[in-house]
């Protein structure tokens, strides 16, 4: 049975975010913000959640290795700034320590005595929105394959890497499908690499979430992204179902034109490990 490995400090897993930063990501969505700004916000929140889940009073435990690969124009490079820009994948402890800045946000919480209090919370920022140039998706997935191959070689017994790819446009450097096929064939002893695709668009078309076939998708490009996507493993399918999504045998990790909540859920479901060890 694949995807059974316990995730622990000795056997971490890897989440790799592959983010389209091409010029069209500056288009304004129904939220009133650009696609790039919305994706950067969700990515910051996702990393915040992942780091928090590894943080204890005595420090951050390296349950996860985290990578961000950004592509736009002619560049394919680490999506991190500062010290982290030297590499693609870093242990989560390093991610926690190297932010671009820390902002303060307010949140309301239960005070334990029937009331609500407002707390000021420190919120880290790793990414600011960027958008420029073409969409070198083929080069990006090629770099992803190199990165994931190295990671799998070094972590043969671990839960395999999960790649969350976010894009809004057609590849401008050739067909990416064969790269995605190669990526999904990589594996650890615990199973094949998981590749999930999120197609953000302002062009309209029916929202399609975790479909089982490409027949209802609006265009050849979204159909290709469907084919590039891994089927949801049982534990992620259950988590998606528990969140209210319609899941069937063969549902793939692909969303087309999802609403903002759907995009948030895509990241949450995709980064949901099967087991967190050491309970």
């Amino acid at each position: 049975m694949p995807y059974q490995a316990e995730i622990s400090r000795d056997n971490p897993t890897c989440f790799l975010f592959v983010i389209d930063q091409s010029g069209s990501m500056d288009e304004i969505t129904e939220t009133g913000r650009s696609k790039a700004a919305f994706v950067a916000d969700v990515l910051n929140k996702t990393l915040y959640t992942l780091v928090t889940s590894c943080s204890k009073s005595d420090g951050v435990r390296n349950y996860f290795d985290i990578g961000v690969l950004a592509y736009g124009g002619t560049a394919v490079a680490s999506g991190f700034g500062g010290v982290l820009s030297d590499g693609i994948v870093h242990p989560i402890h390093a991610i926690s320590e190297h932010t671009l800045r820390i902002e303060e946000r307010k949140k309301k919480v239960d005070d334990g005595a029937g009331g609500i209090i407002e707390l000021t919370t420190k919120f880290p920022i790793w990414f600011d929105p960027k958008s420029a140039g073409g969409t070198p998706m083929r080069a990006a997935l090629n770099k992803t394959m190199e990165t994931v191959t190295d990671w799998c070689d070094a972590h043969a017994g671990s839960y395999p890497p999960t790649i969350l790819h976010v894009t809004d446009g057609q590849s401008t450097d050739g067909a990416p499908e064969e790269m995605a096929d190669g990526l999904r064939k990589l594996s650890t002893k615990d199973g094949p690499v998981l590749l999930f695709n999120l197609h953000v668009t302002t062009n309209g078309g029916a929202e399609t979430v975790f479909p089982t076939s490409e027949s209802d998708l609006a265009d050849e490009y979204s159909r290709m992204l469907f084919r590039m996507s891994s089927p949801l493993p049982a534990h992620l399918a259950k988590f998606a179902s528990d969140k209210g999504y319609t899941i069937a045998d063969g549902s793939r990790g692909f969303i087309f034109n999802g609403d903002p909540q759907c995009i948030v859920d895509f990241f949450e479901i995709g980064t949901r490990p099967k087991l967190v060890a050491d309970r």
């Binding site: 928090t52 943080s55 349950y63 919480v109 334990g112 420190k122 919120f123 309970r279």
Partner: protein, 239 residues
């Protein structure tokens, strides 16, 4: 009936020799025993587990006020504002732990069991299991049990429960020829319920464990054989 003041045996060992044990237990001379399994993937579950068992042993009436006092005590352990962002976020998210408490009243005329989470109590007569609470089959041990949280928002699940009914069981030693009461965290609970029909019975195996060293040898052997999950493991045994 057994004497009122005899303390039960109690043993605990960590998941690995180099790992911090986040299980805690407490035994009072008044016949109140508690154990708590702290969830490692949370901020400071060992301190939270320690607060829960100490408070339960002192005041075994689990109410919302009781829990509010426990969360308030935990909150005082840290200066939230001075924590770096990742620790503050984890502190806010909360620390999680089970709570299993038992009160042995009148030498066992009445045994009141309280359980939140997946630590279990077992009532035995000789080598036979008479009752278990709150879990009765190995398959019921889930990956995400509901646990008590040091942050009040994490305890919202209790709002849907009748605390005096849904979380408790009343047992008695009356009518049992060789009564015994066991309390254990989930790894041992799963081991026991997986083998409840084995010969020799798992109760007879545990009955032979009388020292901390013997408990460590037993747990290590079962882990090595793949029969017990590698996790912090705690047993309170009133034989």
């Amino acid at each position: 009936m057994r004497p009122k003041s005899r303390l039960p045996l109690a043993f605990t060992i960590p998941k690995a020799d180099d790992k911090h044990n986040e299980d805690r237990y407490h035994r009072s001379a008044k016949g109140v025993y508690a154990l708590s399994d702290g969830a490692s993937v949370s901020f400071d579950s060992a301190s939270w587990a320690a607060i829960l068992v100490r408070r339960y042993a002192k005041s075994p009436e689990f109410t919302r006020e009781w829990l509010a006092a426990a969360t308030a005590e935990f909150a005082k352990l840290y200066d939230r504002e001075s924590l770096p962002w990742m620790k503050q976020a984890s502190f806010d998210k909360g620390s999680f732990a089970s709570l299993l408490g038992v009160r042995v009243i009148d030498g066992g005329q009445l045994i009141q069991v309280l359980s939140i989470g997946d630590s279990i109590a077992v009532l035995c007569d000789g080598d036979r299991i008479e009752a278990t609470f709150p879990i009765s089959a190995a398959s019921e041990f889930g990956r995400s049990p509901q646990l008590l949280c040091s942050s009040p928002a994490g305890n919202a699940f209790l709002d849907k429960l009748d605390l005096d009914f849904d979380l408790v069981a009343d047992w008695t030693f009356r009518g049992l020829a060789q009564p015994a009461l066991l309390c254990m965290t989930d790894a041992l609970g799963h081991w026991l319920l997986s083998r409840r029909d084995d010969h020799p019975s798992p109760i007879s195996v545990l009955r032979k464990v009388r020292t901390a060293d013997a408990f460590a040898r037993f747990v290590h052997a079962e882990r090595a054989a793949g029969r017990m999950k590698r996790d912090d493991t705690t047993l309170i045994a009133l034989w």
